[in-house]
């Protein structure tokens, strides 16, 4: 499809060609989905790469994924080759003219987040996403993200070592996501990704064992969409006055889903699990967004962000 300027989204100093963002952990390091004929990273506004840590991690034992009603659980355990390998061997193979590539940082300690951010600072990556919400690792991840003090510490420490736009990926597994967002904003976050997966589990009744090797995993897909929408709406109350954008995500599997997130307060929308249902979903979502602009008389997609009408 030819570029449609109406779909362009300003995003912390970057311009996304459209509001679609491919989500971390669902599209590897950018080279995987293009195996599918008709798929291209150039079709979307940005691609978030797999969670990257200081040292290489082997990840969790099998099973790592399992289907649940209208969704799935995953417990990958941040399998990745480590930041040095990513910088030396993977980033040089990406075409940064195609789309914006965003790294997804993780660590077990604040120092590890900082070390990863430092090494990614001097690369062509357009932005860094701080994942303080991974439910599948023993240390760091969601244990940081559920504690506003720790969240703010990680963000401030990363902020101190990079000038790249910083996106903080918030966990839905916490009491007051808006309060946490406020702390991260004060600590220097330029944007938010809302939401990461919810913690969950599945049981195999034949073996009476947890299905996932890691026992628990993160729930994604359409099942979490209503929760994600509410969290976006809540975080938007904090962000909008500061002009801080949100990448809304959690269960988007159609153009309608994407529109709901934009109206609730997101500037961009992420697609992860939806790709597993339909690897060519992005085409369809973009066509639906264009059709909506046409029929509802909006000039740009940005006008939709936060356009939620309050009930009487």
């Amino acid at each position: 499809m030819t570029a449609d300027p109406r779909l362009e989204v300003p995003f912390c100093g970057l311009t996304l060609k459209n509001p679609l963002v491919l989500l971390s952990g669902c599209v590897g390091f950018g080279h995987e989905y293009p195996r599918v004929a008709g798929f291209s990273n150039a079709q979307v506004g940005a691609v978030c790469l797999k969670g990257t840590t200081g040292a290489a991690r082997p990840g969790n034992p099998a099973h790592r994924v399992v289907e649940t009603p209208a969704g799935m659980l995953n417990a990958i355990g941040l399998q990745n080759p480590g930041v040095a390998h990513v910088v030396e061997h993977i980033l040089p193979t990406l075409d940064f003219g195609q789309t914006c590539y965003i790294a997804n940082l993780s660590g077990s300690t604040v120092e590890e987040y900082v070390a990863v951010a430092r090494q990614l600072d001097d690369t062509p990556l357009q932005a860094l996403e701080i994942n303080i919400s991974c439910p599948n690792v023993k240390e760091g991840g969601v244990t940081f993200g559920n504690d506003p003090d720790m969240s703010a510490r990680v963000v401030a420490a990363v902020r101190a070592v990079t000038d790249k736009p910083l996106i903080t990926k918030l966990s839905p597994n916490q009491a007051d996501i808006a309060a946490n967002a406020r702390r991260c904003l004060e600590a220097g976050s330029d944007a938010f990704a809302v939401i990461n997966t919810l913690q969950g589990m599945a049981v195999d009744i034949h073996t009476r064992r947890p299905v996932l090797g890691n026992v628990q995993g993160g729930l994604s897909g359409p099942a979490i969409k209503p929760i994600a929408l509410l969290k976006v709406h809540q975080v938007a109350q904090v962000c909008v006055p500061h002009g801080v954008p949100i990448i809304g995500q959690g269960g988007i599997a159609s153009g309608t889903d994407a529109l709901e997130f934009l109206i609730a307060g997101a500037s961009a929308v992420g697609i992860g699990t939806g790709l597993f249902y339909d690897p060519l979903l992005c085409h369809k979502v973009l066509a639906d967004l264009q059709a909506y602009l046409d029929t509802h008389g909006f000039d740009t997609i940005g006008e939709l962000t936060g356009s939620l009408q309050h009930s009487a």
């Binding site: 952990g25 669902c26 599209v27 590897g28 080279h31 995987e32 989905y33 293009p34 195996r35 599918v36 004929a37 008709g38 798929f39 797999k50 082997p58 990840g59 099998a62 099973h63 790592r64 994924v65 399992v66 289907e67 209208a70 969704g71 799935m72 995953n74 990958i76 399998q79 193979t93 990406l94 075409d95 897909g221 359409p222 599997a253 699990t273 790709l275 597993f276 249902y277 339909d278 690897p279 060519l280």
Partner: protein, 288 residues
């Protein structure tokens, strides 16, 4: 770097859907791009027709590039495959294929023993058909604990080492001139009362040394069978390739959901069954 597009998304029409005892189903789909590119050992990631459901990985059993169809054989074991079993001729299912690394011949091993257990049969049929076109010597041994998804018939071919009365074969393979014998502990007539690996052992023992040394093993089936095939390969010092299964989400390498530990020269690595496999060297996945 640009990734080559080797996997196609097709909206495949169901051409035939035949149902066999033991909840086994043979599904024929019009998927011309997949049919044209598929090689033995590859699979498709098939939507079941249900909304908001992950696709199901199923091995390709036959591919007819000329007619544009592929065939899969599956067992209805859970919700997804049960929903699939209800789909009728004329309906369309989204399909991604062909996916994965298939079987590869090994130099100096022109003869092959193909071992298929249960619904591990499909890749063995595809491989047998491909080998037939190359006029390579092939023996297929199939095992099942439920009636086979075909009507066995007595074979006219002599096969070294087979016990008395073990004469049942798969008609399709017999028609292709490929040797085949069946094993089942369900007391099926003409079948060996035991495992496919028992039959394989009897056959290998009946071969002379040079013939055995020209042979390799290929296997697909449930985990206990795969470990038994890997052990057999070790014992007889034969190269062996196995097709593995693991739960999948994307099936294109993007999610790292389907990994298995693989012993490589550089050490243990977590490899994706979907794109690094599903076929792996037996010694690398079951080192013993």
């Amino acid at each position: 770097m640009t990734t080559e597009a080797t996997i196609f998304e097709e909206c495949a029409e169901i051409v035939a859907h035949r149902h066999w005892p033991g909840a086994q189903h043979v599904l024929t789909l019009h998927a011309p791009l997949t049919a044209a590119a598929a090689v033995p050992g590859q699979f498709v990631h098939l939507a079941t027709g249900e909304r908001h459901a992950l696709r199901r990985p199923l091995s390709i059993m036959r591919a007819m590039p000329g007619q544009g169809w592929i065939e899969v054989l599956y067992k209805a074991v859970g919700r997804g495959t049960q929903v699939l079993a209800e789909r009728g001729v004329g309906e369309r299912l989204a399909l991604l294929g062909p996916i994965g690394r298939g079987f590869t011949p090994v130099a100096g091993r022109p003869r092959a023993l193909l071992l298929g257990g249960g619904v591990g049969l499909p890749p063995m049929i595809f491989l047998a058909e491909a080998r037939r076109q190359l006029a390579r010597q092939t023996l297929v041994l199939l095992g099942s604990e439920v009636p086979f998804p075909f009507q066995p018939r007595p074979s006219q071919q002599l096969i070294a080492g087979m016990p008395h009365g073990v004469i049942g074969t798969m008609p399709l393979l017999e028609d292709w001139g490929i040797g085949c014998r069946l094993a089942s502990r369900a007391g099926l007539p003409g079948c060996h009362d035991g495992f496919v690996t028992d039959l394989a052992r009897l056959h290998l023992d009946a071969l002379d040394e040079p013939t055995r040394e020209a042979t390799m093993l290929y296997g697909c089936g449930p985990e206990p069978m795969l470990t038994a095939v890997a052990a057999l390969a070790r014992e007889y010092m034969l190269p062996c390739q196995l097709s593995l299964e693991e739960y999948m989400a994307c099936a294109v390498g993007g999610c790292a959901g389907c990994v298995v530990p693989v012993h490589e020269p550089a050490g243990l690595a977590m490899r994706r069954v979907c794109v690094d496999g599903p076929v792996f060297d037996a010694a690398a996945v079951y080192p013993g």
